[in-house]
Symmetry: D2
């Protein structure tokens, strides 16, 4: 499966790292804003041995339509910025390229555009594309569904410099309908990222904990999604759509 990566910042590099290390996927090219100084390919820039081409192109220097013809891929993984979908979206859809976007925030008109593209190709969007966090959301809302009256609190821990409540914590709180008093933010040293949902029952406690080790988790998440949407038809998908089939399998296998 041939992948084109948009964006080569910290997250983008970590994602390239994972794709380059995967046997089932090939990183054909990377499209970035500014030309990479000194490196022609992602594998050079990241010092990884791989067969993937992984040539780095600059967004400002290409004609996108011609680019897709010259450098065909099955799938685009987008870790750049909200605007870039406007540049590559229509061309990608026209060439039948599936799109996986991990952009944190889109404007309403950009979401409308994504949905428009989804009439022609497969479009997936998740603001947090790690498997662990999405599973946590799923499993936590299941338990709340089973026990609506249970006390729920959230502890999120990150490095000292991180300001504000983490985006993931906000999403968990929204999903579980938590008041802001129930979100406890710990900022200390170099903690990469930890989210712990505490379900307090009168005589027992259940904790769901997600710990981030590195940004490469975004890469694993993107490939997990790629694997799961490769046979999907055009349409607009999110992470729940990907997880739900496992859910039903699970439920049936237990019967």
């Amino acid at each position: 499966m041939k992948i084109g990566l948009i964006g080569f910042g910290k997250a983008g590099k970590a994602v390239a790292n994972v794709i380059l290390g995967s046997k089932d996927f090939s990183l054909e090219w990377v499209l970035k804003n500014k030309p990479e100084s000194g490196f022609l390919t992602a594998k050079e820039a990241l010092n990884i041995e791989a067969d993937d081409e992984s040539v780095i192109y600059s967004r400002s220097e290409i004609d996108i339509d011609r680019f897709f013809e010259m450098h065909p891929v099955d799938l685009i993984v987008d870790f750049s910025d909200a605007e870039s979908i406007l540049q590559y979206g229509s061309s990608a859809a026209r060439h039948g390229v599936k799109i996986i976007s991990a952009i944190s925030h889109y404007q309403d008109d950009q979401i409308t555009f994504l949905k428009e593209l989804a009439k022609t190709t497969t479009v997936f969007w998740s603001p947090n594309i790690t498997l662990g966090v999405n599973y946590l959301l799923f499993a936590a809302s299941l338990l709340k569904n089973i026990a609506p009256g249970v006390d729920i609190e959230l502890i999120e821990e990150h490095f000292k410099a991180k300001s504000g409540v983490s985006g993931t914590a906000v999403r968990i709180a929204e999903t579980l309908d938590l008041e802001s008093e129930s979100i406890n933010s710990v900022r200390a040293g170099g903690i990469v990222g930890k989210h712990e949902v505490i379900f307090g029952f009168p005589y027992q406690t259940v904790r769901l904990v997600h710990e981030s080790i590195s940004r490469e988790a975004f890469g694993s998440g993107a490939l997990f999604v790629a694997e799961n949407i490769k046979d999907k038809k055009e349409g607009f998908y999110n992470f729940e759509d990907i997880l739900k089939p496992y859910f039903f399998d699970q439920a049936s296998s237990l019967s």
Copy 2:
């Protein structure tokens, strides 16, 4: 909903405690092996103020069929021993009384008998009747289903004197297909009971943790089951059957 409780050992007393404290359920009577010295009712024995009758009877002194006529209940909760189903089962079924059994181990012929009763009335059996542990099993096997290759390890912690691997840990290991090397048993001081399933991904870790606070969790679990089987027809049910509908609700609510 009128409940009759079979068994008044440590677990049985904790269960009585929870039923007596509940508004929606009434503890009509307790059936125990030996007569309780000095106390006529469970509420006296446990020093709880409640309207429930909760009269304590001795199994050896009653005619079970006549007993069900004189002291009708909707539901039996059984925390006694594997044999007692043979005493009360047929009478209960004949009188349309639902049965919730929390017996740890049944012989094969006893299970056959349970299934026979299930042709006439609603029979539920779970060797560990806490909501938390059953949810953990469910949620853990879901994640394994999603990520079959993930590394899974189990840590179970209990008080120093507990010998052998905990029954719950064995059940988790069976459900997740873990080797015995992946079960880590910690025995220290007075730890009531903790089970932690660790899912190790390359760039992130997910932990599902259950901590027991007290035996009353069995009571909450029994009442949760009671609430969920009250409208169920005759048949043989386990905890997964109870959780599954929440699961499907959940899955549909996310679409």
Copy 3:
């Protein structure tokens, strides 16, 4: 070592429980405010088999001076209220009885009185008499001493109904000089009590965690103190005074 216990509320009963179960200490009597209805001894009231006399007396019905003559003890353990020291203090000091007080708060004049008593007998006071919490305070302030610039956060978890920040958390925060923003209070279900001090370094994290299982920890703490002050002369002691010698032993044994 003969012990007299003042106070027979929830904490007092838990302490009696531990003393009755100990070989090295004997519970001679319990002094409580209201007469215990129905029970003459603590061992009856708690349903424990023990050789200890453990007779329950009512404070209002005795002449305290005569009481100490008739029922001599080596040590008083006080889990009652701040006022009771005024009743028994002078008599105890006169009879050479050591005093261990676990009263949460004393008025200034009561502390002055304690120090006055300490000129004649051994007086120990700690508002939280568990070994674990006092060790935590000690070990945490040591690490802060070693690494003054480290980020410190505190998470304290208790049952839903507990209002306000826990007294132990306040004490930890004072000892470590934490701002109130660094105290995270989780209230959920029936959590007995957990305190976690997080030391965040740039490239590593250290966590000191104390989990309460039951109030009996107060009893163990009282006996630990009793063991450690039995050879101490008159004077006013706190928990640090008890721990410090182990500290120096430790430091020397490592050299």
Copy 4:
């Protein structure tokens, strides 16, 4: 304070990273086995902006005595291999350069040599040079000293591929006199490194937890040691010698 670094493997690079980022220390040079291909300085190799010279030299190409004259430093930090002390040790001692060695294992004769050098200069050796792990050892053995009968168990978690019990776990077990049954090794995914010492008391549990975030912790540890030995006379020191003064400060500040 001018530092020379011996060794430029994974750990050595992480240490260089920390020294280059520090204001109080200057990385004068790095001595490595093989010449670094393409990079003349550590700051180039690690892509860090810094004023430090940090020139990379190859061990095979220099005359060590002349090298110390031409490139004077106050301190050597050694993250290379057990043999290299034989090359640079005598010269360093002759030039009054202090030595901090973080080599995991030395042969007996190498340790004898270190002690010989310690007659002339300040020599520090610790097989695990992180502050967190050494604090953990210290704090854990203190608690064991206070409560000799407490149940102690150890859980160590590392990435799947790590074989055998971790060296740190072995050291903790030796220090606390634990049987091998009490060491629980979890291997899952990409866990960087976690050590948890559990102290189980009858009614409470104390946990001391160390979590590694990255190898840079070795660098922080080395600089912590450098800061603490800079005024020390000749002699052979270990991490306990460094921590002990804080300990005594601590104990006195509490009196």
